[in-house]
């Protein structure tokens, strides 16, 4: 298929929604996939089952990525079972919405820790073997709320804007080693996580439909592909024209 080395892919928050669609898309590309999840083991096992019954390889990995020790465990497990992690998709994210006067320190920290700090830790750990392999793909799942106001999500928006800034800087640092770092910014996507916030936004979406997890996964599949080797440091918006 291409000149990419042997290795594996890690998708955080891979048990449901966008993450599950990404895990399946990467498995179809031939990557053995680590499906990392925090709490829903049944959903994670269902993703693994779907991948393996289609002839792919996958493993469910439980761990809270906000815990600094989880990164090493995830990478070590995948390296031992499937080889070096050459595709990392930082997809896991949490929300703790509220208007700013009501976001307490805990809700601020929780969102920044999981969505931004954990993504950095995982990226840092991933880069070492990627640099050695002269090949790597990091894709960070951002959000259009990092670019466009969405009242009630100051913490979430800050974490996602930070993710895009991190993406660009790290991309520039490692580009000469064949490692690309990109972001995908989904708009209104139908998942459990966006349940209830969809209706009032839909009329602003030129495509007149919410996006699907597969719409996002397809962008990630491209950015993670060998053919996207010259694309780095970008944030690909997938929002049906909402921010156009």
């Amino acid at each position: 298929m291409n000149g990419r080395p042997e290795g594996s892919a890690l998708v955080t928050g891979g048990s449901r929604g966008i993450g599950a669609a990404i895990a399946k898309a990467l498995a179809r590309e031939g990557w053995p996939v680590g499906v990392s999840y925090r709490s829903d083991s049944d959903a994670a096992e269902a993703v693994v089952e779907e991948i393996t019954s289609a002839g792919g390889r996958a493993k469910a990995l439980q761990g809270d990525i906000a815990d600094p020790e989880t990164a090493e465990m995830l990478f070590k497990t995948l390296e031992d079972e499937f080889g070096p992690v050459l595709v990392l998709v930082n997809n896991a994210g949490v929300r703790a919405d509220g208007l700013s006067p009501q976001i307490d320190d805990e809700d601020w920290a929780k969102v920044i820790d999981t969505n931004l700090s954990a993504a950095f830790r995982l990226t840092r750990r991933a880069l070492r073997p990627m640099i050695r392999a002269r090949y790597g793909r990091v894709v960070n799942i951002a959000s259009i709320v990092g670019q466009r106001a969405n009242p009630g999500q100051a913490n979430y928006a800050a974490s996602k804007a930070g993710l895009v800034a991190m993406t660009k800087t790290v991309a520039a640092e490692v580009a000469r080693r064949g490692v690309t770092v990109n972001a995908v910014a989904p708009g209104l996507i139908e998942t459990d996580m966006t349940e209830g916030i969809a209706e009032n936004l839909l009329e602003h979406v030129p495509a007149r439909r919410p996006g699907t997890p597969e719409d996002v996964a397809e962008c990630v599949r491209f950015l993670a592909s060998d053919g996207a080797g010259y694309v780095t440091g970008v944030c690909l918006t997938v929002d049906g024209g909402l921010t156009a």
């Binding site: 070492r128 640099i131 050695r132 640092e173 490692v174 000469r176 080693r177």
Partner: protein, 82 residues
């Protein structure tokens, strides 16, 4: 492994890494300066990683500050091993 690595072994490993980074073989030597060999900051990060993986020595960014030659790098690794 860390306890038995000799100066020559470490130096040889650094030379090999520099070749991987694209330095001209006839330029590589104990007193060659990284900058003259076009070895950049990312190369030094990778070198630190190789040393850590193979000799169990952790080199932080601040340790590498002021390290300009192969000899200085090997001295640094030897001092951490000792």
């Amino acid at each position: 492994m860390a306890a038995t690595a000799t100066r020559e072994e470490i130096e040889g490993r650094v030379f090999k890494a520099l070749e991987e980074f694209g330095a001209e073989p006839d330029q590589i030597g104990p007193d060659a300066e990284f900058e003259a060999m076009d070895v950049d900051s990312l190369d030094l990060v990778e070198l630190a990683q190789i040393v850590e993986d193979e000799y169990g020595v952790q080199l932080k960014g601040e340790d590498m500050e002021g390290v300009k030659t192969v000899r200085q790098a090997v001295d640094l690794v030897m001092s951490k091993l000792g």
